[in-house]
């Protein structure tokens, strides 16, 4: 197993390097001036040149990349042009908020997804299956920002039960004063993973139930509970892979949902960075999110190999 993990880690290194290069270059391809947030368009040409030098944008691109990468390797993602704050601090704060949101959304989405998926798979072609399939299709088809707005209109504007936007009175705590802000964005965010997990698990369970070994298990007189355990074990590696990918998306935050709810996570941060054309913040945030994804894929690979030894052998 250790050799497997080491091999995977070695494969991750070039991916990380490529990701960092793409992150750095992507934002340079976009049009516009990187100093737009601190330099009004009416600033003089001399002032613009002075600012360009101060921020190091006058250097050749490979030199800029080298400096950026070296600092990033030491945990320094630079300074936000717009706010003057350290990018690492900004990203860390946003990641914390997104992690909380993703954690609650994934618990909701995965729990209901697994439940609905197994129900639909077990009771295939019955009204239960049709009901669950309808719910899951609605989940993956509904634009989540629209759902967010509808939930806000119902639960905040009309009923006044939950706050419409924000993350609470500053600084997170797991109390009602803060949790109430998490409920609507978490529900909104959970709908797509719920739909995807439901559909995946339904297909898996249906497929496994039609295999001969299940017939053999039943012929041997195993109870439905024992049969279910075998089905679950066979479905787990694929379900874990799908949930891992979905968790990756959730951890990346959602620009739309976080903007609709003014939730100060990574999506909200990216939105601000894009509109302010804050290059260091944009590069730092994208890099951290991409590394999250790479790390999560690695975890899923290791987990799958631990559950199903055939994967390790292959």
């Amino acid at each position: 197993m250790l050799a497997f993990i080491l091999k995977r880690l070695l494969l991750v290194l070039p991916v990380v390097l490529a990701v960092s290069l793409v992150c750095f270059l992507l934002v340079y391809i976009a049009p516009g001036d990187p100093l737009i947030s601190v330099l009004p368009p009416d600033a003089s040409a001399e002032l613009a040149e002075q600012m360009r030098r101060a921020y190091g944008f006058d250097r050749p691109l490979p030199v800029q990349f080298g400096i950026w990468l070296w600092k990033a390797l030491h945990g320094d993602l630079g300074t936000s042009i717009a706010t003057g704050r350290a990018v690492a601090d900004e990203v860390a704060r946003a990641v914390g908020n997104t992690l909380r949101l993703a954690a609650v959304a994934s618990v909701l989405g995965f729990s209901f997804g697994l439940l609905f998926g197994f129900l639909a798979g077990y009771f295939r072609d019955t009204w239960v299956d049709r009901l669950v399939t309808t719910i899951s299709i609605a989940g993956v088809s509904t634009p989540h920002y629209w759902l967010g707005m509808v939930l806000v209109i119902i639960f905040s504007v009309q009923l006044g039960w939950l706050p419409a936007v924000g993350a609470g009175p500053g600084g997170w705590a797991w109390d009602w004063e803060h949790l109430q802000f998490l409920i609507l964005p978490a529900i909104t965010m959970s709908v797509i993973p719920m739909g995807i997990v439901t559909r995946t698990v339904r297909a898996l369970v249906g497929d496994i139930l039609s295999q001969e070994f299940v017939l053999a298990l039943r012929a041997k007189g195993l109870g439905e509970g024992r049969v279910f355990a075998h089905v679950a074990k066979n479905a787990t590696p694929t379900a874990v892979a799908v949930m891992g990918l979905q968790l990756g998306y959730l951890l990346g935050g959602s620009i739309l949902i976080e903007t609709v709810f003014s939730w100060p996570g990574t999506g909200f941060l990216l939105n601000a960075a894009i509109f302010q054309r804050d290059l260091p913040l944009l590069q730092g945030t994208i890099l951290v999110l991409a590394l999250f994804f790479v790390f999560l894929n690695l975890m899923v690979d290791v987990l799958q190999a631990a559950i199903d030894p055939r994967i390790k052998r292959s």
Binding site: P31, G32, D33, L35, I36, S37, V38, L39, P40, P41, D42, A43, S44, A45, L47, Q50, M51, A54, Y55, T79, I81, A82, T83, G84, R85, A86, E90, R93, A94, M149, V152, I153, S156, V157, G160, P163, A164, V165, G166, A167, P169, G170, G171, T259, V260, F261, S262, P264, F268, L269, N271, A272, F275, Q276, R277
Partner: protein, 552 residues
């Protein structure tokens, strides 16, 4: 089992009852929460980012300049008044030197005195590159707003001398943008930077970062709590030097809410008492629920800025005038924007001291427009092709695509064939500086970038003076008319306020008579607020005074 001591329990309950019961109720703190359109709290270290919204919320609240904008009237134009300086005048012998007398008895929030050394220190923070507290991150947003200022020196404890590169009568107006931060507070924070940080620039950077979280200015509001990207809480400065402007509300909470529907929902659900720029289609519901909509003409212009390079169709004054006469601005106001605009008949409207008396009356007169176009050689069969660059969104752009499509349809009635080139906002903004000759214009002969008209340089000179052509400033269309240059030069040396207003009026008058722009609209800065908020005045300005309001 151990029995409770009933006597002691009874005593404790009695004491608790005494404490809970007869205590007089403390006066509840009055709090106004505001949903801003910004996606982040504007910078809090003195010179805010995010344009005038930044100045509105974290500039004018916590800090002040030597001069201030008068925000006390909803009817009169907002003008410059004394702030941290009580009087000023240029040197009679050398007009590049100005002497400012400072207001005595003013203290920063940290308790230190405001004096001439503080002014020198604040000028140097953005102009003197070898000053220990020089901060490049504040230079861009400051130096460009006071382009002629070069240096300063203290004459005595309460008098400073400011020097400009050339005689510049506009300096007192520009100085409203230089906010005075506390040198004592900064030095205290710089001393707290770990000794292991030895690079002076890095120490200054860290001290400014700390200052942003522990701000100290002289303004009517003091920083109390700051959570980056989430909230800024300000409390009233009870010791503010102007007793009339000591805030009547105890606390102001500023929350970033960039999405219009989110802001509207926050207001309707009672999460905030005030939102900036509510979603236009939610206005009926907001009003129906008893909220108050505040709006007033802002020094903002929504124009088409014409290219005047060789071959541009806008070089013909008849065409420029025809376009200005062919837009039904009232129709746009009532039909498209729900009343939230003021039809523009120039950069400044009647009643403004810089308006003048233009002879060309901008109004909706399609017959006159068609006549001018026919004189210029165009007709229904021979339409004039024009191309305009615009964006899908952007700060101050209002509803750029629907408004441009409205203009496109209107101008079609007057023999124009308008092509719209919609590009990303930041790109449009960057191109603004490159000019109509640059490839980035993609053959467009007009650009649609809105602008602030708070002070004369930004309202007129940067567009009309030939010396302001790219790459120097925003004369995008390369206007090159000696008369504008002469009038702009007159403005620079009109040091008496009355003479300055007269010179500015002459420049504006000329620009309207020459139909220098297609003037379309002025924004009205709409904001919706709880009916509990009383005493608020929305001036004809980008800024507001938060001190006057009360909360019932």
């Amino acid at each position: 089992m151990r029995q409770p001591d009933l006597a002691r329990l009874g005593g404790a309950l009695f004491l608790a009852g005494m404490l809970a019961g007869p205590m007089p109720a403390a006066r509840a703190e009055s709090v106004v929460r505001i949903g801003m359109t910004a996606a982040d709290i504007p910078r809090t270290l003195g010179q805010p980012d995010q344009g005038f919204e930044g100045n509105r919320f974290t500039g004018n609240t916590m800090y002040e300049g030597l001069t201030l904008w008068d925000l006390s009237s909803a009817d009169k134009p907002s003008v410059i008044i004394p702030g941290l300086a009580t009087e000023w005048a240029p040197d009679a012998a050398d007009k590049t030197k100005w002497v400012f007398k400072l207001r005595p008895g003013v203290k920063f929030h940290d308790g230190s005195d405001f004096d001439a050394d503080a002014v020198v220190w604040n000028v140097e923070k953005v102009l003197k590159q070898d000053a220990p507290h020089f901060d490049p991150s504040q230079v861009g947003v400051t130096a460009s707003r006071m382009p002629s200022l070069r240096s300063t020196k203290a004459i005595d404890k309460m008098t400073v001398e400011l020097t400009t590169a050339a005689p510049d009568a506009l300096l007192p107006i520009n100085l409203a943008n230089l906010f005075m931060a506390s040198p004592a507070q900064w030095k205290k924070l710089e001393a707290a930077v770990p000794a292991s940080v030895t690079d002076p620039k890095e120490r200054a950077k860290q001290a400014w970062a700390a200052f942003a979280g522990s701000a100290s200015g002289t303004g009517a509001w003091k920083m109390d709590k700051f959570v980056p990207r989430e909230r800024l809480e300000l409390v009233k400065n009870a010791g503010y030097w102007d007793a009339k402007r000591v805030p009547k509300v105890d606390r102001l909470v500023l929350l970033p809410m960039p999405e219009a529907n989110a802001r509207t929902a926050a207001l309707l659900s009672g999460q905030v008492e005030w939102i900036e720029n509510p979603a236009p289609d939610a206005l009926p519901q907001i009003k129906q629920r008893g909220f108050v909509i505040q709006a007033n003409e802002q020094p903002h212009v929504w124009p088409w800025q014409f290219s005047r390079i060789e071959g541009s169709p806008w070089n013909d004054i008849r065409v420029r005038k025809a376009a200005n006469l062919c837009i039904d601005r009232d129709g746009m106001k009532d039909g498209l924007l729900g009343g939230l605009m003021v039809p523009a008949t120039g950069t400044f409207e009647p009643g403004h001291p810089w308006r003048g008396n233009p002879k060309f009356a901008i109004k909706y007169d399609p017959d006159a427009a068609r006549k001018l176009m026919q004189e210029a050689g165009f007709s229904a069969d021979k339409k004039l092709k024009v191309k305009t660059q615009t964006s899908a969104s952007g700060s101050g752009q209002m509803l750029p695509i629907p408004m441009n499509e409205f203009i496109q349809q209107s101008l079609a009635e007057c023999f124009f064939d308008v092509e719209l080139d919609v590009i990303e906002w930041n790109t449009l903004f960057t191109n603004w500086r490159k000019g109509a000759k640059d490839d980035s214009a993609r053959g467009a002969n007009a650009t649609n970038v809105t602008y602030a008209a708070m002070d004369p340089f930004f309202a007129m000179i940067r567009f009309l003076d030939s010396k302001m052509a790219p790459p120097v400033s925003n004369n995008w269309g390369f206007i090159n008319e000696p008369e504008y240059d002469k009038l702009a030069a007159d403005v620079r040396v009109a040091f008496e306020p009355a003479a300055r207003d007269k010179a500015l009026a002459a420049l504006h008058e000329r620009s309207v008579d020459e139909a220098a722009f297609l003037w379309v609209a002025h924004d009205v800065g709409p904001r919706a607020m709880s009916p509990k908020i009383k005493g608020f005045v929305q001036p004809k300005s980008w800024f507001v005074d938060f001190s006057t309001m009360t909360l019932e």
